[in-house]
Amino acid sequence: MSTETISAAASAAATERSRTVPGGLALSWRQFLYWYTFFYRTWRGTVMSAILGPVMYLTAMGVGIGTLITHGLPGGVSYLSFIAPGVLAATAMQNGIFEGSFTVLGSVKWAGNYWAAVNTPQRPQDIMFGTAMQGLARTAGMSVVFFAAMVGFGTTHSLWAVFALPVALLTGAAFLFPMMAYSITLENDQPLMVVFRFVMTPLFLFSGTFFPWQQLPAWMHPIAFATPLWHGVELCRELTLGTVTAASAAIHLGYLLVALAVGIALARRSFTRRLYLER
């Protein structure tokens, strides 16, 4: 144990400074620091699974199943090149949903760390944004690893491909915030299982990730178009295959940004309700 040499005057000055409350970004950053400390213990396992997951996925789905599928894909691309950007976006969605679920529910029901944070200068929205920052940081990290694997497997066919990364992150964010808004209202994890099984999995399978959306029955097309994931998958694929146009980029980006804005508003509202208004 090291003995610190902080003078009483310096300590008092630090207290004085701590009485001035900074803006929302700095407060959110404090919440992010909490999560940094919290997850620091487990970073090795997280990195391992982040690397192993996509490599296994691309090998099994692309190289394994892909060799059986030799025709019928738009543009005549290989199956691996077709699904890789889709899985990039879908995995970002999955990460967004996971990060917005157990972390939030655990903080409010099991670990109780939100109930500690509310007693500090943190406001509910700072707690929300700080938690989202850490969820997005992890999603970004996973996406970077996945993208590196995609490059390694030779599935990026255009320089536009680098923009698939931020689009994937945006797709993750479009799911992270609504999920946080929902998770903070819960009392146990049963409803989360329902979301995973009946929302996340169907989205994962039927948003054009593994096969062209045109294959879906016509009545399902509007449903696909309505999900942010479809827009994320389509835009990521157009970027990595180099088929993107200004119009399609504008539509997909616009949709994702609107979904993000709505999600943030919802998350802000339900965090304020649970952590402040309804106490």
């Binding site: 003995t3 701590s18 409350v21 404090r30 500690a116 500090t120």
Partner: protein, 329 residues
């Protein structure tokens, strides 16, 4: 003291009343019920807390103490009436007020998977304190709550008393001007309670302003300079513990137990002894300034209690008198 020339020959001024840190007037909190009518947890209470005093909220479960604490802690909106801390409005200056408070919640909200020292660190960061400052304070505070040798351990295996002491240490990390404790010793065994009381007593002697809620009258009597007795969302009485006992109870109490079935008859025979009788389900309390004399009189009237005990009046008696109920059901 320095002898400043300007002070020479001046008549000593009256000691100024200590600064009021918290002021509540007609404070109300109502919760909407899911179905049906609203539930009023705090039904219009007034109080003031001054710098350096230990102020208590005494009352049974459901009296509105914790709800009041949450409004004071600016983690729940003021439902009605007026509340100010440090002259600031909780509805608009919550973060600024919370930066100056330390809070020990009723339920421990520690990070049980983190080490003791890390708990201090993450909490201190919420206040924007530099790491080095937190490290120095954490060492000092963990020493104060006698947890230095557990600093590198995880929180999970610590005893209930240790966790509560850690929560107290954590709440002091920002050098708060007011420390709020919601039932600080509920759920602790007697020995652990005494250790917590001892630490709180030291804080009191150092001049820290403490606000605490409790349903233990001995806790309130030992620690509080001033307290309010709460019942059903209202303040039933306010004052120093001794003052309240003098006002609402006699100096002594005679507690008599009778065989089953004979209590009612006995209570009738006791009529007129002491100032007041309080028949409870399991015993009869006789309020008298001289308990021994009251007991002698009871024997003289031919009563044969199973047990007889003369004790000093406590806040429990005050509460019983004011509400007709005991503090801990």
């Amino acid at each position: 003291m320095s002898d400043l020339p300007g002070n020479v020959g001046r008549v000593s001024e009256p000691i100024p009343a200590a600064e009021v840190l918290i002021r509540a007037q007609g404070l109300v909190k109502t919760f909407p019920k899911k179905h049906g009518e609203a539930f009023t947890a705090v039904a219009g209470i007034d109080f003031e807390v001054r710098r350096g005093e230990v102020f208590g909220f005494l009352g049974p479960n459901g009296a509105g103490k914790s709800t009041t604490m949450r409004m004071i802690g600016c983690v729940s909106p003021v439902g009605g009436g007026h509340l100010s801390l440090f002259g600031l409005d909780p509805n608009t200056a919550g973060p600024q007020i919370r930066a100056r408070l330390g809070v020990v919640p009723q339920e421990d909200t520690l990070d049980v998977e983190m080490r003791v020292r890390d708990n201090m660190q993450v909490y201190g960061r919420y206040f924007g304190l530099p790491r080095a400052v937190i490290r120095e304070r954490a060492a000092r505070l963990l020493d104060f709550v006698q947890l230095t040798d557990r600093a590198e351990d995880k929180v999970e295996p610590l005893s209930g008393g240790m966790k509560r002491r850690l929560t107290i240490a954590r709440a002091l990390i920002n050098d708060p001007e007011i420390l709020i404790l919601d039932e600080p010793t509920t759920g602790l065994d007697p020995q652990a309670r005494h250790v917590v009381w001892d630490r709180l007593y030291r804080l009191k002697q150092q001049g820290t302003t403490l606000i605490l809620t409790t349903h233990y009258m001995d806790e309130a009597e030992q620690l509080c300079d001033r307290l309010v007795v709460m019942d059903k969302g209202r303040i039933a009485a306010e004052g120093a513990p001794r003052e309240l006992i003098e006002r609402y109870a006699t100096r002594e109490v005679l507690e008599l137990r009778f065989p089953l079935g004979e209590q009612e008859q006995a209570a009738e025979k006791l009529a007129g002894i002491g100032e007041r009788l309080e028949p409870l389900p399991d015993r009869v309390l006789v309020y008298a300034d001289d308990g021994e004399a009251a007991l002698t009189e009871a024997y003289r009237r031919g009563l044969e209690p199973l047990t007889a005990l003369v004790r000093r009046s406590t806040l429990e008696d005050v509460f019983l008198h004011l509400t007709g109920r005991t503090l801990v059901d």
